[in-house]
Amino acid sequence: MSNPLMVMYDEEFKQINAVMDKLLREANSKVIFLVDKNGQLISGVGETERFDTTSLASLTAGNIAATGGLAKLIGEKEFSILFHEGEKDNLHISIVAGRVILVVLFDTRSSLGLVRLRVKKASEELTAIFDRLMQKAEEKEKSGETDFPFAEITDDDIDNLFS
């Protein structure tokens, strides 16, 4: 298979959330999401309960995929930053570590310049965490460590899901 399984561990999850919390404060933003390029929500901080986060994640990934397709058509590798301006709220979407998407929602209490500046710093920190995460997953796979929850499942477990 072309893509390895994406895995998230507690330790890195906490580190990622800490970076996102800091970005939320420093960029004066309302809510921040981190989404896998395949449309799965990794984490969210801020006023997340106001949003349908699953749909938001899926549409963000679709958006990035579509603009990525456009980029390739004109000979670019990707467009790493997207900005959507609304009447009140704006979305700043950027690709981090080549594989995850950082979505920052902000209003007039912040500005595009401030968000861009803070996102750049946070992206570097997130990239380092994701690099470690990938390395960790690879090492675990090599050493044959099996804390994988599905290795032990039985056919009955699977059947029970559908009963």
Binding site: M1, S2, N3, P4, L5, M6, V7, M8, Y9, D10, F13, K14, D36, K37, N38, G39, Q40, I42, D52, T54, S55, S58, L59, G62, A65, A66, G68, G69, T146, D147, F148, P149, F150, A151, E152, I153, D155, D157, I158, D159, N160, L161, F162
Partner: protein, 196 residues
């Protein structure tokens, strides 16, 4: 590519419904949406034209329940079936864990079925996947309509690798859940195998 989150104890998988234009991919998702308990489903999103033809994709998140303390979530996507939306179809296949190919059983759509299945195979290769190695099921849809091709013939022509296949009428829901369960089950079995 499934996503396993140890922190929130969740596992997420992506299922894509593929097939020729107007074969009933969106109808499959709509039926699943209607018949699923509110606590198990999210909002269904359809990016469609004014005439309700899928423009980019439909999306439906489903929570199936827990396995060994992990919440299993399936994200169902459809592709736009019309031939000229090929660029969009390729994007939606990214990160796919399992594929449902929806066949239009009407005689006049046989060429479209062949073309779409071939297109699926090619687009998967482009993303680095091999259809024969992916969890894959086939659904023979529209079994209630006149001018049908027999299931035996469809099977002979389209199901060359003998994957699980189902007769369906997506508008009444017949066969819809059977198809979904089969592909979900294959994905979970694949996950289990992949790490042993």
């Amino acid at each position: 590519m499934s996503f396993i989150n140890y922190a929130s104890r969740e596992i997420n998988c992506k299922i894509v419904y593929y097939g020729p234009g107007l074969c009933g991919k969106t109808t499959n998702l709509q039926f699943v949406y209607q018949k699923t308990a509110p606590e198990s489903k999210g909002k269904m999103i359809s990016l469609a034209t004014e005439t309700e033809r899928t423009l980019f994709f439909d999306f439906l998140p489903l929570a199936l329940g827990e396995i060994r303390g992990f919440k299993t979530r399936f994200h169902l996507y459809t592709v736009p079936g019309q031939v000229f939306y090929d660029a969009s179809r390729k994007l939606i296949l990214k990160g796919v864990d399992g594929v449902v190919f929806v066949v239009d059983s009407q005689e006049e759509r046989m060429d479209a079925n062949f073309e779409s299945l071939e297109n699926l195979r090619e687009n998967l290769i482009e993303q680095g996947y091999d259809l024969d190695k992916l969890p894959f099921v086939i659904q023979y849809n529209k079994r209630d309509l006149p001018n049908l091709i027999s299931v035996e013939e469809l099977r002979r022509e389209l199901n060359l690798t003998h994957v699980p296949d189902f007769e369906a009428c997506a508008s009444t829901g017949e066969g819809v859940f059977e198809t979904l369960k089969a592909v979900a089950k294959l994905i979970l079995i694949d996950l289990k195998k992949g790490k042993q």
